[in-house]
Symmetry: C2
Subunit: 227 residues, 2 copies
């Protein structure tokens, strides 16, 4: 594919920061979720809005990171980033001298942090719980990197950072899901030390099937409960 | 199996309450998790302690129910229970006149709420998040009912109550996991309106494989990140 005339080209050294998101990142998070839905051919399930993302991911008062829904943003910059700030989860340096990278959406994804930074991906994670361990873990709901930035080690960097955070917080597990036909992803995750559990299946109650349980407690009084 | 001499027999009408647990329930929760580990032949994974359960499930200050890890207790009583209290999630009446029930562990599982109540099961659930919906849901980590109380509709009652709560809170989904060979459970869940997702697999990073990510952020600086 030819490089679009308006693409921003990144070459040489590029600095990456994985940082805590805030409400100013919502427009980019929304656009990234939509790209993810397109990638997964699941746009019919896409119902995210700026308002819902803001209220659910950035409630006020805010909750400490990794104690509730936590959004992380991956920003890239052609110039060195300042030393880690309070929102930095991980920072890294890419060497693109052997293979420069054209990002046609760099302008649209200008980071709200400014300074020429470009937002290239995001992570959504939240605590889960293992009763056997009686410990919290982290569940990674999404890891997404925009197309031009893939295959540069950024997904691994993001997952490693989340795993490092979970380990530092004394959590027992990091878990996420993968499609069983996605052999490349499975090989990648196994290479990172994960096991893919073959026998567990996810059960989901949603939409009208969920709504019918609203306020139905009375249904289980009396004889029906003895079924 | 003959009824043990010291079993408590329940017959006629029995009142059930699903209620929020508190720290006084920890000994029973611990014992129920151990029974669950035995049932699943997974006692080698069992590492729960009273101290860990107390600190992770009942932190202080407490968090509102269903906004973090939430433990529910199923209590049964041979005498009518008082009207719903602030910790009541659901209350129901069982008719055991056609099939009385002997509970050999009734004394060991005397409920800390007193009044002759017996603890027969528990639920652990916590919020999860759907980016496509940009809404929280509830993930049900465990639903467990002690053996003598099974096949009385109590599991359905508990899952229905959790689903009802999720629907009332405006959540988008209730999810849980099932083993793919457990056809009875799958039929039961599908009968309750759930879909079993065939293609998703759980990936898990735990133990030594997780610990090696502790403090390893530096590993991804420089050339390795460009792989």
């Amino acid at each position: 594919m030819a490089t679009p005339a308006n693409a921003t080209t990144f070459s040489g050294e590029v600095w990456a920061e994985l940082r805590l998101a805030d409400a100013s990142d919502v427009p980019h998070i929304h656009a990234l979720i939509h790209q993810m839905a397109e990638f997964e051919l699941l746009t019919d399930l896409f119902a995210a809005t700026h308002e819902l993302l803001t209220s659910t991911l950035f409630p006020s008062p805010p909750r400490p990171p990794f104690t509730s829904f936590t959004a992380l943003i991956l920003d890239l910059s052609s110039s060195p980033l300042p030393a880690s700030g309070p929102s930095t989860i991980a920072s890294h340096r890419l060497d693109l001298s052997a293979s420069p990278l054209a990002d046609p959406e760099a302008a649209a994804f200008a980071s709200p942090r400014g300074g020429g930074r470009v937002t290239a991906g995001f992570v959504i994670c939240f605590p889960n719980y293992s009763t056997f361990l009686s410990k919290p873990g982290l569940y990674v709901e999404d890891i997404f990197v925009r197309a031009p930035w893939r295959r540069r080690g950024l997904g691994r960097m993001m997952l490693s950072a989340v795993a490092g955070k979970a380990a530092e917080l004394g959590m027992g597990r990091v878990e996420w899901c993968v499609l069983d036909w996605n052999k490349n992803a499975i090989d990648f995750y196994e290479g990172m030390g994960a096991e893919v559990l073959p026998q567990w299946r996810i059960c989901r109650l949603t939409g009208a099937a969920l709504d019918k349980y609203k306020g139905n407690q009375e249904e289980w009084g009396g004889s029906k409960a003895a079924e």
